[in-house]
């Protein structure tokens, strides 16, 4: 391709890149800068990472919830992805549609719906009381259980799609070969199919964990202020206390942690493919 031609395509990319660099990357860099310059130059803000027990708790909460969410999403999502890879075309379209629809529904509405269901006067508790399974309403919102349910609900589609994608790529012949060689169903699954679906599982875990870390809306609504994860903590630091140094430090820590995590994982998986580009 001639240089003149190339130039045209560079120009085509330019506006989007410019916009993103100026109005996205630069502000992020500013956040990083502010974390070491506000109120004064230096790493004092980061001292809180070591000193502040509240911050420790927030991080612990966050990581624990994210890890659990990832676990739940993978465990519940694997059978769905597996089934999707085996069933016929129409059946599969229906399943994909359920997933895609849920995925695109406003996260706000989903959290709201879960509040409807899980709160003390909500549907679930009413049903449990009615059936006589419990004497008192079960506390399912404003605690970690509610948050986990809400987050797992959001993350399931994100977990299923990459796993399905990699399962779809497993040629039938491997399973047939295993059976032909005498393998029973569980042997075929654990020794042949599961290992071959590993890339999808890894991709799914990465995606779910990454998105969970930065999650704001669902934990805020379902956690009711009792379960504070890092995203909400950042917002609170900014909104209510306007401590720029502290807030940007929190944000920077999260950003750096995410970047490191992605960089680590990028060695084993193709990050771009995972995100679909």
């Amino acid at each position: 391709m001639g240089d003149g031609q190339k130039r045209f395509y560079y120009w085509a990319m330019a506006p989007a890149v410019l916009l993103v660099v100026v109005f996205f990357v630069l502000p992020l860099l500013q956040v990083l800068w502010l974390s070491v310059s506000e109120p004064t130059l230096g790493l004092q803000n980061y001292a809180a990472l070591i000193d502040n027990p509240l911050l420790h708790r927030v991080w612990l909460n966050t990581i624990r919830v994210c890890a659990l969410t990832t676990l739940i999403a993978l465990t519940a999502g694997y059978p769905v992805a597996y089934a999707m890879a085996q069933v016929g075309e129409q059946h599969r379209t229906l399943m994909i549609f359920c997933i895609v629809l849920t995925f695109w529904l406003s996260v706000l509405i989903r959290a709201f719906a879960w509040v409807m269901i899980l709160r003390t006067e909500g549907v679930l508790n009413s049903a449990l009381l009615c059936l006589g399974l419990v004497d008192q309403p079960v506390r399912l919102v404003r605690n970690e259980i509610g948050v986990l349910i809400g987050m797992a609900h959001y993350m399931l589609p994100i977990a299923v799609l990459p796993m399905y994608s990699s399962m779809q790529a497993i040629p039938r012949t491997y399973v047939d070969a295993a059976r032909g060689l005498g393998a029973r169903a569980w042997q075929t699954f654990f020794w042949v199919y599961l290992p071959l679906s590993k890339p999808g599982i890894i991709a799914a875990s990465v995606l779910v964990f990454i998105f969970s870390l930065g999650f704001f809306i669902t934990p805020a609504i379902l956690g009711g202020g009792r379960v504070v994860m890092i995203a909400e903590y950042i917002r609170v630091s900014f909104d209510e206390t306007l401590r720029w140094g502290y807030a940007t430090m929190l944000a920077s820590t999260l950003l750096i942690a995410l970047s490191l995590g992605l960089a680590l994982v990028a060695r084993t998986i193709n990050v771009q493919k995972v995100f679909g580009a």
Binding site: K6, Y10, A12, P15, A16, L19, V20, V21, F23, F24, V25, P27, L28, Q30, V31, L34, P79, V80, A83, I96, C98, I99, V100, L101, T102, L105, S106, V107, L108, I109, R110, F112, A113, V115, M116, I117, E121, H153, Y154, L156, A185, L207, L213, G214, F215, F216, I217, T218, A231, I234, R235, A247, A251, L254, L255, L258, Q272, F275, G276, A277
Partner: protein
């Protein structure tokens, strides 16, 4: 004879049951908003004596809700259009160049999906305030355009993946300029990607909350923001009504997208690109 088939069939039935239970867990809880929106009481509850549409009336008649809806529609439409334009150009450029630069650009363009929205909001606040974009339509449109571009890039790239580069080369060889080629040859082929990208960017902007919380205060009160505020002080069934409307709207948009894709695929019988099975990262 059927004994040989028993265990496999049982396993399969259990698997399907399990899969559909999970899918049920995904879909059914969303349906709860429907009965709640039809309650005859004034507080969050299931209908007691009769179904009532008054909460829908409240939503539609209330000037504040109406204003928010309009704002959201406007902002979403404009930012989606901008995202499609910029994102498509970028995707086409990347696709054609296919070198180290374009790979880096692709990665860069994915950043708004990966970086948590809290951080994005925090970062944008300062710059928006300094640039006089705080609490303005332009400010929100700008923010949503940037965060919507990744969706367009993903869908258009997917469409381009199925497009034969040689068609473009043939056009160039026949004397068409780069711009003409893009206009007359490439764009028509990636229209499904453009439409899907536009739909997803629209839905993203319409539902976006976190960034809006950071860069607006009184002037701009998009629909999600009003719902959020409603959830903070007094949750009333109007929110359920709004939710139902939003669910139906999303459903219709997705169906329209799927239908358009299918029709184009039938008419042209070329790959319409994957049904967007990889919509990623609606960070919250």
């Amino acid at each position: 004879m059927t004994g040989h088939n028993f265990w496999p069939r049982l396993r399969w039935t259990l698997l399907l049951a399990g899969a559909w239970s999970v899918l049920g867990f995904l879909v059914v809880p969303m349906l709860i908003v429907v009965p709640v929106s039809l309650t005859d009481r004034n507080y969050l509850s299931l209908p007691e004596h009769s179904l009532s549409l008054r909460h829908y009336a409240t939503f539609l008649a209330n000037p504040l809700w109406f204003a928010s809806t309009l704002q959201s529609l406007l902002i979403a439409a404009v930012s989606a259009a901008a995202s499609v334009f910029l994102g498509a150009l970028c995707a086409i450029g990347c696709w054609r160049l296919s070198n180290g630069w374009s790979a880096a650009v692709r990665l860069l363009m994915l950043a708004p999906l990966i970086v948590p929205t809290v951080i994005q909001g925090l970062a944008m606040y300062r710059l928006w305030a300094a640039a006089g974009l705080y609490d303005t339509y332009a400010g929100v449109v700008l923010a949503h355009t940037i965060t919507g571009i990744p969706y367009v890039i993903i869908t258009v790239s997917a469409s381009l993946a199925g497009f034969d580069v040689r068609l473009e080369q043939a056009a160039r060889g026949l004397g068409a300029s780069a711009l003409d080629t893009i206009r007359l040859v490439v764009i028509p082929a990636v229209v499904p990607g453009l439409i899907s990208g536009g739909v997803f960017a629209f839905i993203h902007s319409f539902d976006e909350l976190v960034i809006v919380l950071f860069i607006t205060s009184r002037e701009i009160k998009t629909l999600p923001k009003r719902i959020w505020d409603g959830l903070q002080d007094r949750i009333d069934p109007t929110i359920a009504a709004v939710s139902v409307v939003l669910i139906v709207a999303t459903l219709l948009l997705l169906l329209a997208d799927a239908w358009i894709r299918r029709r184009r695929a039938q008419r042209r019988s070329i790959a319409a690109g994957p049904i967007a099975i990889e919509p990623q990262g609606r960070a919250a």
